[in-house]
């Protein structure tokens, strides 16, 4: 049966408006074009079954699910892609897959803004990336190396004599927050406040409470933006505030949405990744020693750990009807690339469960791909690398505190916490 074509509006960054299509959720809201045999309820990523052992759940998806299926859940219904090839296809074809409405954070409809550049499709998104790329490209981030090393050691200094720590609070969360503050040009005395905001915003499932926290963060960021307007510096906020692509300065809403997005994107993801890695290291002493004994291979070690411990998903919305692997999807359908599962695709990474620090290098999806490929990827790699180097140098032997049952908490970013360690 023919249906009226759905027109997905291009987001106009100068005139932000709420996305017109609702998020469908639940079995009562499955569109009629979805074949019954492709409907699943995987429970990803909030169910107890998933959080029992996420990094066994992801590789198993390739053994138990069709490559493309329609996932029905309490928060959202969407097609899910678990093949490496399919996720790259979705991420690289903006003509089919729009990233408008890809960020679930609630905003006031009367004072709407877009998270930039993530919610803007190519080619318009490029002008935003060009503003910050010079601060976060692989060469540029090298200038942070000594600073990150110093910060890592300060955090280790604070706990090493105690013989134990809660890794999340004592290392994984403050490290990216400190780096973020430096990168943005914000004072380090805001560290605890930012840590609190991260937890309140990103570990909160209640949209009403989220709005309150977002207002508080937004007010602070607006003050910082105003201050950088008066006193320019080398930091990212100042760079965004004073940018004028093609001679045209960004509007206030563009600046705000850009600065806010960097905050959301760069903290939670890093600390979840660190927690995953340290949880694994704590339980695998022989692998720890393998890493310590092969310091020249640290980059490959980081890349492989990022492959097996990816933490996020990538949402898109179809702009036009599309058939993929024989599955007919329609304009307006939501699509989620299950990036951590794609990194266990046995067709690309043979024997995918094995953590192998000598795999040939291939594109991984930890940082998504395509034009919206994570702009902080090189900084994140550097933070993980230096964190590993310094921690393993000073605390080579550690384990999960005996008697503690480490749990994964339901979250859109996959990581265990709390993570009490002893040495």
């Amino acid at each position: 049966m023919a249906t009226a074509p759905i027109v997905i509006p291009e987001n106009d960054p100068k005139n932000p408006v709420p996305f017109p299509l609702p998020r469908l959720a639940g079995m009562d809201n499955v569109p009629p074009h979805v074949p019954k045999e492709l409907i699943r309820s995987t429970g990803l990523p909030f169910s107890p079954e998933f959080n029992e052992n996420p990094y066994e759940f992801f590789p198993r998806m390739h053994e138990t699910l069709p490559p493309i299926y329609y996932d029905v859940g309490p928060m959202q219904n969407a097609w899910q892609l678990i093949k490496h090839e399919d996720a790259f296809f979705a991420l690289r074809h903006g003509e089919y897959f729009s990233s408008a409405s890809s960020t679930p954070f609630p905003r006031d409809p009367k004072d709407y803004f877009y998270f930039l550049p993530i919610e803007i499709d190519p080619p318009a998104h490029r002008k935003y990336r060009a503003i910050v790329d010079p601060l976060v490209n692989p060469q540029a981030v090298l200038k942070w190396e000594e600073r990150i090393r110093t910060l890592s050691n300060q955090l280790i200094d604070a706990v090493i004599e105690k013989g134990e720590c809660e890794f999340t609070e004592d290392f994984a969360r403050p490290l990216p927050v400190c780096v973020f503050l430096d990168l943005m040009g914000l004072p380090q005395d805001m560290r605890d406040q930012f840590v609190t905001w991260v937890v309140q915003l990103l570990k909160n499932m209640d949209p009403a409470k989220m709005i309150g926290v977002m207002k508080e963060i937004g007010d602070y960021l607006n003050t910082a933006i105003a201050e950088k307007r008066r006193n320019p510096d080398e930091g990212m906020i100042s760079r965004i505030v004073h940018a004028a692509p093609n001679g045209e300065p960004l509007s206030e809403k563009e600046i705000f949405g850009f600065v806010f997005f960097v905050f959301i994107a760069g903290i939670d993801t890093v600390y979840a990744t660190l927690n995953n890695i340290w949880y694994w290291l704590a339980r695998n002493p022989e692998r720890r020693h393998e890493m310590i004994g092969d310091p020249g291979n640290i980059n490959a070690q980081v890349e492989e750990l990022l492959r097996v411990f990816s933490v996020t998903f990538s949402g898109r919305i179809l702009k036009q009807d599309l058939e993929l692997r024989g599955v007919k999807m329609k304009a307006g359908d939501r699509i989620t690339s299950v990036l951590p599962a794609c990194n266990y695709d046995p067709e690309v990474f043979p024997n995918p469960r094995e953590v192998d620090f000598h795999r040939p290098r291939k594109p991984i999806l930890a940082f998504a791909g395509g034009v919206h490929s994570c702009m902080g990827a090189h900084l994140a790699r550097l933070e993980i690398k230096i964190g590993l180097q310094e921690w393993l140098r000073r605390i080579p032997d550690f384990q999960v505190k005996p008697g503690v049952d480490v749990k994964y908490v339901p979250s859109a970013v996959v990581g265990p916490e709390p993570l009490p360690l002893v040495w």
């Binding site: 490209n137 980059n299 990827a377 090189h378 790699r381």
Partner: protein, 108 residues
């Protein structure tokens, strides 16, 4: 500034002055040369900045600069040839003034 000449698969030529210290990938991306994507930003993580160094320049530019580049080239979408490089790994130096690189038909 050294000049880099990008020749697209359809023959279109772009002559671009690229600052010293930059690389061949960024010279393209920052100047609207569409045959290079460079989606990961230059970190040997995507294989979308594949180029063929012109035969006359191949010796001066040299082959892949690391095992990672060699591995990553195998993920390139277009045919890999003896002068294939990932352009993010070719740093712009005074010696490369006039460099000619050909771009493949597709990057993914």
């Amino acid at each position: 500034m050294p000049l880099v000449i990008y020749v697209e698969a359809d023959g279109a030529r772009h002559e671009v002055d690229v600052p010293l210290g930059e690389n061949v990938m960024r010279g393209a991306v920052n100047n609207g040369v569409e045959g290079i994507v460079g989606e990961c930003g230059g970190g040997l993580a995507c294989a979308t900045c594949h180029c063929y160094v012109d035969a006359a320049w191949a010796d001066k530019v040299g082959g892949p600069s690391s095992d990672d580049e060699r591995d990553m080239l195998e993920s390139a979408a277009a045919e890999v040839r003896p002068t294939s490089r990932l352009s993010c790994q070719i740093a712009i130096t005074p010696e490369l003034d006039g460099l000619v690189v050909e771009l493949p038909e597709r990057q993914y």
